[in-house]
Symmetry: C2
Subunit: 256 residues, 2 copies
């Protein structure tokens, strides 16, 4: 197993975008270390492009390096294609998809016949020029889907434990600070059930309002806010459970 | 796919046992029907034995039929072994494990070379004589684990979506009516994320107190209580989210 256990979530609302990734990687039970999975690839006045990855580390690293070098143009004389020059986020998703597909093919060949999985999936978010914030999920064949307001989040990796809270409490008009809380609760749910997903967590928060700062945050192993959120969430869930009326069949006069 | 999508949960607290199973089965997208997965195999003054199954329908049905007929004794003259005669729940789990393993072997041979999965897993709960309530998860090799007070629930099938609520709000001292609510919320979380798990749901509630009735309940497609619980749960989760203090890094004086 080469870094297969990961959880990343991207949320896109009218108020901005939040990406959160864990940082744990493992090559077997005894070899667990911290590895960055959330990468700000471009951040300047004109464009912001961030990527989160789940799956094979070697495919991810190969893909990131080839994106940095630039992919070949259509003709030998054409300039290399990079995320610094693509005109739209859709073109950025195509370029990353192409890089993922190429990295997977070349490493997949090396790994053929082994049981090592060369699969990878990515979240790609950002904005270019005057365009709106966009968020994509890129599969390892290089194809991709775009986040939409009806389900304003995308997840990769170990995603099932943390999905119900997103389904129930994140909507297109959710405030950005509330979206951050939902994302952290989604991680808390995942980390309780899957020990291979763990803190530190990396967050990037991009407000839709360009006058506001883009935030880069690392939530550490003993982060006081996260500890409080986890504790409070457990307490509030039990309170919520108690608030709901008892099932009518449990109100049987025989008493249960 | 032969009935692979299922969710069943068993909860065992000091106050009693609750088993809940969905009833949907599918053989392809167009062939969805209702099929009972929760079976009360023995229910009399002296013993109560209930089974829930996930996985191959044919293995399950074969296994249930052979349990009903009785498994051969140690010698040709020995009486057949059935759930009506085993002296303890531990022996019941061994007998069911044996029946699962035999059914799987015989059907697995028939299916060898096809892509049809003959896998199955079962929850087995109940009590015999003066013994306490017991709950087991039986794997398809026939081995099994027992529910314990530190994690007073066991799940089979599509279990990840519905696990966080169990992790956070079910403990050994939870009241039985609250446990039923937790189980229904766990199903609600699962059904929102996986369309192949659906109502009707079957419930069996067994109070530890033998003076109280054992309940058999079917929660139908348009059950008013379940609809209310689902709606209220969504509202209460959003309230709980709002109640938690904002992340300190979102309180930046720049304002987000």
């Amino acid at each position: 197993m080469e870094g297969v256990m990961t959880y990343c979530v991207g949320m896109l609302t009218e108020n901005g975008m939040v990406l959160i990734a864990d940082t744990r990687t493992n090559a077997g039970i005894d070899n667990i270390s911290v590895f960055k999975k959330l990468h700000m690839l471009v951040e300047n006045e004109e464009r912001l492009i961030v990527v989160a990855s789940a799956g094979s580390l070697s495919v991810t690293q190969n893909m990131l390096s080839s994106l940095e070098e630039g992919l070949p143009g259509d003709t030998p004389d054409a300039p290399l294609r990079t995320l610094h020059t693509v005109p739209t986020m859709f073109r950025a998703a195509q370029l990353v998809g192409e890089a993922v597909s190429a990295a997977r093919r070349s490493i997949g060949m090396v790994l053929a016949g082994t049981t090592i999985n060369a699969g990878v999936s990515m979240l790609l978010g950002g904005r270019i020029g005057d365009g709106p914030l966009k968020l994509y999920l890129i599969y390892d064949e290089g194809n991709f889907i775009e986040c939409n307001p009806d389900a304003p989040f995308l997840q990769i990796g170990e995603l099932k434990y943390g999905k119900p809270i997103l389904d129930r409490t994140l909507t297109w008009d959710t405030q950005l600070d509330e979206a951050v809380k939902v994302g952290l609760i989604s991680f808390d749910s995942t980390m309780r059930s899957n020990l291979s997903v763990g803190r530190p967590l990396d967050l990037i928060v991009v407000p839709s309002d360009r006058a506001k700062d883009v935030l880069h945050v690392r939530v550490g192993d003993d982060d006081a806010y996260f500890n409080m959120l986890s504790r409070e969430w457990g307490r509030l869930l039990t309170e919520a459970r108690d608030t709901i009326a008892d099932p009518p069949f449990m109100l049987d006069p025989e008493g249960v």
